[in-house]
Symmetry: C2
Subunit: 242 residues, 2 copies
DNA sequence: TTAAAAATTTCATATAGTGAAACAGTAGTA
DNA sequence: TACTACTGTTTCACTATATGAAATTTTTAA
């Protein structure tokens, strides 16, 4: 007896196919996946019932309005622009993240290369302690708000969170507050470094602006200088909009 | 014999639950859904294998990096800022859309209200002919590029697309080109109107900037004036970045 | 209007999915 | 360290659900 479920897997295959190529007919989907037509029809009916797929004139498409991953976000909006000079100077991609509960959500992406696959991270949700963007927000929050977030991290993360992790993260936040920027080498196995600074509005941090690049483009020796440039950029933003 | 698939439905239930509350254990998920533990375990294993769910220290979360709905986008990036004055003036939300194949993707949202649920549309994908943002791009493309998109609309939409629709849409595009802006009252049953203008880069349209508001905030009598204000804003953007 | 193609439903059956229970792993406490 | 309680994972017997072939209905195109 197989460990896992082929029926569920087939259903997910259909979703994946429709994500790549929407507006397909039953016969086309059945052929593309090598599934029997009756089976395919029934799986599609289920997906339509569950509102993951819509069916118009016998053509099936993903129902984007009901994606599981579209989670209402309930904090203040922020919008910024990033000069291309900064991106070119550091050969990095820039991101804006905002806080949502105990996670950070990427709301804007500014790729340096003409490689638009970077936009696929738009809307991504990450626990604050796993991302420089998140840390750069939390570290500059008032202490009482920080505490609330640290408490709630028990429930919202995919990582078991112990008291010692709590203490380590708290110390990490203090360091970030002192330095003025957050650094994340967690993805260091991939040679990627992230540097992020807070964005303020009405004297409160509401978002963060981060750069993601290679160790070469964001060298340890240049982090203070880079963070100052970013701070000037984010200060400009605050002046302009808030 | 049931029309639809209870196994697939149970799998989707799990995804939905994890979307609402991530980082749950097997026992909790099983209890919350009233599913047998073994069954739940196997469904979760399948979801993990298919990379829709990640499992860290026996806690399950949605794997946001592998959402079906995150579709690599392969055209040039664009970034803009929108002055809050424009939003306040019209009491509307602003969007930036970019072209991806025959769809338009929303890459930036600037809500006027402190109601961040608007950000849930970030990343939304809509066929070009169903959205002012899409029309405002296609209408200003070179004719040969337009033709390619019109041809491919056969395959990518959830709506049956006939020759007469082709002709109507082509005429619609000509009108938009003449006027300089695209209007969309398709959602008029909900009292929502969308007005969009193109964003250029190197003398080519690469994106669009649109406003979405009520009939009161975007009155028919004011559309020309508003579109001119938007055009100035998008021209400023072009001057600044391109 | 007709024929072909696609969509939907039916039916027999076997296999995939289910759930109870056994087993293994983990954490906390005395 | 040993024990207990709880959780996670695997096994096994059984049947209900999923499958696929085929019949029927609907849709499409000429």
């Amino acid at each position: 007896m197989a460990t896992s479920s082929s029926t569920l897997r087939n259903g997910l295959k259909i979703l994946k196919l429709l994500a790549q190529h929407s507006g397909q007919s039953l016969t086309t989907i059945s052929k593309n996946l090598g599934l029997n037509k009756s089976t395919t029809f029934r799986l599609l009916e289920t997906l339509v019932e569950e509102k993951q797929v819509k069916k118009i004139d016998h053509l099936y498409s993903l129902d984007h309005t009901n994606s599981f991953l579209k989670k209402p976000i309930s904090i203040d909006p922020v919008s910024i622009s990033v000069s291309r000079d900064i991106l070119k100077q550091f050969n990095t991609t820039a991101y804006v993240g905002i806080l949502s509960s105990t996670n950070v959500v990427i709301t804007q992406v500014f790729p340096v290369k003409n490689d638009f696959s970077e936009f696929s991270v738009l809307g991504n949700i990450t626990p604050v302690h796993l991302s420089a963007l998140g840390k750069a927000i939390v570290a500059f929050l008032p202490k009482d708000k920080q505490e609330i977030i640290l408490e709630n991290l028990h429930y919202d993360i995919g990582t078991k969170y112990t008291l010692s992790d709590h203490t380590i993260f708290q110390k990490n936040l203090n360091v970030i507050e002192e330095k003025g920027y957050a650094l994340d080498d967690e993805e260091s196995s991939l040679g990627v470094r992230c540097l992020a600074v807070p964005i303020y509005r009405n004297h409160q941090v509401v978002a963060s602006l981060g750069l993601s690049g290679s160790f070469e483009s964001l060298p340890r020796t240049g982090l203070v200088r880079i963070s100052k440039i970013l701070m000037r950029s984010s200060q400009q933003i605050t002046n302009e909009f808030f």
